[in-house]
């Protein structure tokens, strides 16, 4: 029998990367899905829309943001509850709970909204790199190919961390808001007192704010992430705290962006470029503000440019009941990989359309805002179904609050659609 001797040879490779990775995930799980989902609203579209709100209307959109936050909390809570009590993602639930044609309508809306998001992520990448002097006609196609390849070849999970790190740059916003000498009395009164501006631009911007804050994608993410983690009814109290806290935290950051931008360039009219938006970070970053902003924008955009099309494709493939895994060949998972690729391609292509990138980005948030009430209606109907949720069904009071939210958002979205149609037809201003 040989002695229990361990050879002294140095092996360089095989550690336990999986273990270490899992530890990291456990650590990061403290930021529960709720926090991540809601903060997905602070992506490229979010940052530039909030900045635009601050630039165009100074502090006047703050009260609207309070209402939007209430809406977000209500909606994210319902999504998390659906995920926890059914263990299924929203798209699968919609297929099981509604007639196929109705479900197909919902999925179409979701895909359109998410392509809008992907467009704005690529526009964000383009705008960020333009600040470094790189043309978007170069950066956007390269980014699209790069992200697509990274996901399909399986190395995206490593790249993802870099992007996430970059996007943490945006914590500079609360600091900038504090250091930027905003008019605090105005901030306080316009946050607390009901306040609206009766103009077409204001309406459009509020719908954009709704669209970027209560993005259909976030509900999809919230429900799926809760279900996928195996969080069930017994875990629901902590899931609910995570969802609600995440929504509130995300909106506090959003409001900081509005305040910081309002203090820097408030009332100067429409936001014309990402460069202008970057000046809001000056109080915190000084002369580096522009580059810092670009880095954060790049990170946030690239992060979402992969996760949004990927999870949309996943959710739909799951609902259709076909293979869904990036480790499959195209012939094995044509629907899943096709949907993913198409979203990236279409998103990048539209982001290349000539015109103002910031404006394109905000228009995409308006598109999301118009679609939001459709998806919210589906969520509300399902959360009202006792046959689905049992005792976790919406209480009559909650049902009233939820319905009010959906009706208000739907009314604003309808107004925007009608106004836009009138403008196109040459009837209105």
């Amino acid at each position: 029998m040989t002695a229990g001797k361990v050879p002294e040879v140095d092996v360089t490779a095989p550690g336990a990367p999986t273990r270490r990775r899992r530890r990291l995930v456990v650590l990061l799980a403290v930021f529960g899905p709720g926090l991540i989902a809601a903060n997905a609203g602070n992506d490229a579209g979010g940052v530039l829309t909030y900045a635009s709100a601050g630039a165009q209307f100074a502090y006047r959109t703050l009260f609207a943001m309070v209402l939007v936050t209430i809406g977000l909390v209500v909606v994210q809570e319902m999504s998390a509850r659906l995920g926890a009590y059914t263990g299924e993602g929203l798209v699968s639930l919609i297929r099981e709970q509604f007639p196929l044609r109705v479900a197909a309508f919902a999925v179409t809306c979701l895909v359109v909204a998410n392509i809008g998001l992907v467009v704005s992520e690529f526009a964000g990448i383009g705008a960020a790199l333009e600040l470094f002097g790189i043309s978007r006609y170069l950066s956007v196609p390269l980014a699209a190919v790069g992200i697509w390849a990274a996901v399909v070849l399986g190395s995206y999970r490593y790249v993802e961390r870099v992007f996430l790190l970059l996007s943490f740059v945006f914590v500079a916003y609360p600091i900038a808001a504090a250091l930027g000498h905003p008019d605090w009395t105005k901030v306080a009164t316009q946050t607390a007192l009901p306040h609206f501006v009766a103009s077409h631009d204001f309406l459009l911007l509020v719908v954009a704010l709704i669209g970027t804050t209560i993005t259909p994608y976030m509900q999809l993410y919230q429900a799926a992430a809760v279900a996928d983690k195996g969080n069930g009814p017994t875990d629901y109290p902590s899931v609910r705290i995570d969802a609600v806290a995440g929504a509130i935290f995300a909106d506090l950051v959003s409001m900081c962006i509005i305040v910081a931008t309002a203090a820097a360039i408030g009332g100067h009219g429409q936001l014309a470029s990402a460069k202008e938006a970057a000046t809001a970070l000056r109080p915190a970053a000084g002369a580096n503000a522009e580059h810092l902003f670009a880095i954060g924008l790049l990170g946030a955009s690239a992060l979402a440019a992969a996760v949004v099309p990927l999870s949309t494709a996943y959710a739909i493939a799951e609902a259709v009941g076909v293979e869904r895994s990036v480790s499959r060949k195209f012939s094995e998972a044509p629907l899943f990989l096709g949907l993913f690729s198409a979203q990236v391609a279409i998103g990048a292509a539209i982001a290349l359309a000539p015109g103002n990138l910031v404006q394109l980005l905000i228009n995409m948030q308006i598109l999301n805002g118009v679609i939001t009430p459709v998806i919210l209606t589906f969520i509300l109907v399902m959360a009202n179904r006792r046959s689905l949720l049992g005792d976790a069904v919406n209480s009559p009071r909650f049902r009233l609050v939820g319905t009010t939210c959906v009706v208000v958002i739907a009314a604003m979205a309808t107004l925007v659609v009608v106004e836009t149609a009138r403008t196109w037809l040459g009837l209105g201003s």
């Binding site: 361990v6 991540i36 009941g321 076909v322």
Partner: protein
Amino acid sequence: MAPRPPLPLPGGVLRRHRSVRSVRLLANRAVAEALISVAGLVGQPVRNPSGVDVGRVADVVARWDGAPYPPVTGLVVRIGRRRAFVEITQVAEIAHRGVRLSSARLNLEDFGRREGELTLAADVIDHQMVDVDGVRVIRASDLYLAEVAGTYRLVGADVGLQTLARRLGPARWRAKPTPDRVIDWAAIQPFGGPGTIRLRSPNQELKRMHPSDLADLLEELGRRERQELLDALDPQVAADALEEMHAEELGALLREAPPEQAAALVAGMEPDEAVDALRDLNEEDRTELLEAMPAEDAERLNSLLEFPEGTAGGLMTTLMVTVQGDLTVAQVREQLRDYADRRSDIDAVLVVDDDGSLIDDVSLFELLLAGPDVRLDSLIGPPWPVVVDATAPLRDVVECLIENRSSSLVVVDDTGRPIGRILADDVVDALVPDRGRSHFPRLLS
């Protein structure tokens, strides 16, 4: 550490051939041609013998009684604002274009769900089910009925995308079957609808399925369906399948299942795999599972949990057969009988002295060749077992295996007593990056 390139996953390559197969109805051409689409039937008129419309088909009710092709027991018919149940005995004919009743006098009762019955359009179409031949989770885009020897039966599930498109299209397309990708119902494991439990004993082929295939299915199913499948499986079969699951999905499964069931499953797993699973849970869930387990199992797992992961102690299984040298081969064979269900985890028996210190391992092959009356100590000799101590890091374990070209290692404590074994396949598992297959793409997932 540089990330390892992902290994190619076996995809469709590893589809195991199943030779035993029940007779398939859809192979019969006459049956295939007489298919009636359930999705298309919904909304079609119900006529009495004189051809007068009395209502519209709302749903088709079938009985799940373990028969491979469930018989249709009746129709849900919408008459005005009522949803009435029409027994199949009152139905003369079901066709693409509608239903003809056999008598003018209708015995109508309001529809109520009965035990063991499912409404096909509401509970089965668009829901998840398992295709046991293809070993995959599907969603039926349509179901097909056929008249077999005078009885209408559910004979197939359609998974074609074309069929989805047909159902989205205008009404006149809907009734026409498009059996482009139909799976014979005998190969389907369906799940119950809301409120219905245990509709049908599991498909026999599920029991014959390889644990890793079952693991794939468990990973892909939704929570309710997964729980139902888990309940239907024999606990030991389920525990074997759990060993093959990816860490994250396994964690989710254990959190979802009732604690007693989860504890029983973990206790049934190989100790090293069970420890891995427990490590991935948070403190609270882990304690809950250990408390719900028989004390003996919990103690064994707790002692393994004390070894840090990434060391030989954290990697080893405590499953081993130790014998004294004075036993005969026949006696050892008798002992091995108790491990029949663990045959893939045992490759040798360990021979120890009176103090319990390791002397040698004798492979099963040696045992097979030796005569029944030979004493074990006479089989002692080279090759000697490869030994590591419990604190050896993973890379030393790997190095030991590579150097010695052996398929397993023995882990010993300070005094040379064997405390566990490490099999090469467990090391392979530890080295391969764990990529969740069917995982919602979360950030940092």
